[in-house]
C-alpha cells in the first residue's frame, strides 16, 4: 500500500480516492497532484461559482451538492450542463481562451468543491505528461457527450430527447430539479412532466 502524505489525503479524500483508481497514475503522480488543489470552497444554494463576465482561472472538483452551468439570455436561462459529486467542472471556453465567460455556474444546492488553478494544472501537465494524457482522455469523453447532446437538440420529438437523456444519464433525474432538466432538454417544464 503506497503511503500518501497525510495532509493532501485528508484535505481531499474524495479526489484522492478517485485518482488512486485511475490506472494511468502512479502513487507518486497522485502525491504530486493532490497538493495543487489548494482552494477549498463552499457555495451556498443559489450562489455562483462563476458569473457572466468573469474570467475562469480554476478547474473545480465537486465533493458534494449539485450545480448547473447556464447561459443567461434576455428571455431565459439556458441550462447546458450539470455537475454533482465526482464531477470536474469549469467554465471551459473562458478557461481556455482567458476571455470573460458567457456562462454562469450556480449552485442548485449547498456545494463543496476543491479547485486547482489553471497555472498549476498547466504546469503539472508540462512536468508530468501523464496528466496531459489524463486531461486529453477527459476532454474526449466530454466531447463525445457534447456531440450526443448536439444530436439530442436536433430531434424534433421531445419524448425522443428525453429518452436519450434517460438512457445516457439516468442519475441526473435524481440529482437535479425537473425544471432545469426541462431547460436542458429545450422543452417547457409542463411538456417534461407530461411525457415523463
Amino acid at each position: 500500500m503506497p503511503v500518501f502524505p497525510k495532509t493532501a489525503l485528508n484535505l481531499t479524500p474524495m479526489l484522492a480516492d478517485l485518482l488512486q483508481q485511475v490506472p494511468l497514475f502512479t502513487p507518486d503522480d497522485v502525491e504530486a497532484f493532490l497538493p495543487l488543489w489548494k482552494k477549498r470552497l463552499t457555495v451556498p444554494r443559489g450562489d455562483f461559482l462563476i458569473r457572466e463576465g468573469q474570467v475562469e482561472q480554476h478547474l473545480y472538483f465537486v465533493e458534494s451538492g449539485a450545480l448547473r452551468l447556464y447561459l443567461p439570455t434576455a428571455h431565459e436561462e439556458i441550462c447546458v450542463g450539470f455537475a454533482y459529486p465526482n464531477t470536474l467542472i469549469t467554465a471551459f471556453p473562458s478557461l481556455v481562451t482567458q476571455t470573460p465567460s458567457q456562462y454562469c455556474i450556480q449552485a442548485l444546492r449547498r456545494s463543496e468543491l476543491v479547485a486547482i488553478t489553471k497555472a498549476d494544472f498547466d504546469q503539472i501537465q508540462e512536468k508530468r505528461p501523464i496528466f496531459g494524457k489524463f486531461w486529453r482522455m477527459e476532454l474526449e469523453k466530454a466531447l463525445v457527450g457534447k456531440i450526443e447532446r448536439e444530436v439530442d437538440l436536433q430531434l424534433p420529438d421531445p419524448a425522443q430527447r428525453l429518452e436519450r437523456l434517460l438512457r445516457r444519464s439516468p442519475h441526473i433525474f435524481q440529482l437535479v430539479p425537473r425544471k432545469y432538466i426541462a431547460s436542458y432538454l429545450r422543452m417547457t417544464p409542463e411538456t417534461l412532466s407530461r411525457i415523463m
Partner: protein, 187 residues
C-alpha cells in the same frame, strides 16, 4: 430442519446482510446510490426502499407473532405451507428469473435520499432482535398475513425465511446497481 438450526442460519444471514449494507452502501453519497443500471432498472436506493416497504409491513406482524404467549414448543422441525413454498420460490436469490413487483411496492423514480439506508439499518436492528424471541415461539403457526393478499397466512418461520431471502435477492441487485465512482468532466 429443526427450529434451532433454522434460526441460527437465518440469524447469521441477517447479520451478514446488515454488515454488507454498512460496508457497501452506508459510506456512499446519494449520487452513487441513485445510479441506475439502465432507464427502467432500480438504483441501489430503490432496491433498499423496496425492502424497507416489506420490513414496514412484515416486522410488526413477526414481532406480534413471536412475542405472543411464549410456549416453548421444543426443537420441532420447521414446516412449510403451500403459500410459503411459493413465496420462497419467487424470491429465491439464486434464480435469475425476474418478477414484476406490485405497484405500491415499486419505488421506481421516487426521489430517494441516503435516509433510505439508515431506515434499512434500523429495520435490521429490529429484525435481529426478533431472534431473541424466536426460540420460545412456535414457528409453524400460521399467523403472518401475506402482504398482497392478507387473507392468506404464512407460518412464522417461513415468513422470516421469506423476508431474508427476499432481502438477499435485492441486496445482490443493489450491489450490481451501485455505480463505481469515476471522474467526469462537465464543460
Amino acid at each position: 430442519m429443526d427450529a434451532t438450526t433454522f434460526l441460527t442460519q437465518l440469524q447469521q444471514q441477517a447479520q451478514t446482510q446488515q454488515a454488507l449494507v454498512r460496508a457497501e452502501f452506508l459510506p456512499l453519497d446519494a449520487a452513487l446510490l441513485n445510479a441506475k443500471p439502465h432507464a427502467t432498472g432500480w438504483s441501489a436506493l430503490e432496491c433498499l426502499e423496496h425492502l424497507n416497504r416489506y420490513c414496514r409491513f412484515y416486522l410488526p406482524h413477526l414481532e406480534k407473532a413471536l412475542s405472543a404467549a411464549p410456549i416453548s414448543p421444543g426443537n420441532l422441525p420447521v414446516r412449510y405451507s403451500w403459500i410459503g413454498r411459493k413465496s420462497l420460490a419467487v424470491v429465491d436469490p439464486s434464480s435469475p428469473r425476474k418478477h414484476k413487483t406490485l405497484r405500491h411496492m415499486n419505488p421506481h423514480n421516487s426521489r430517494l435520499t441516503t435516509a433510505v439506508v439508515d431506515e434499512f439499518l434500523q429495520h435490521q436492528d429490529r429484525l435481529l432482535s426478533l431472534f431473541a424471541l424466536a426460540p420460545k415461539a412456535d414457528l409453524n403457526q400460521k399467523n403472518i398475513p401475506v402482504e398482497f393478499f392478507r387473507l392468506l397466512r404464512m407460518r412464522t418461520g417461513e415468513a422470516l425465511e421469506f423476508l431474508l431471502a427476499h432481502q438477499q435477492r435485492h441486496l445482490q441487485q443493489a450491489l450490481r446497481a451501485k455505480a463505481q465512482p469515476t471522474i467526469s468532466l462537465v464543460v
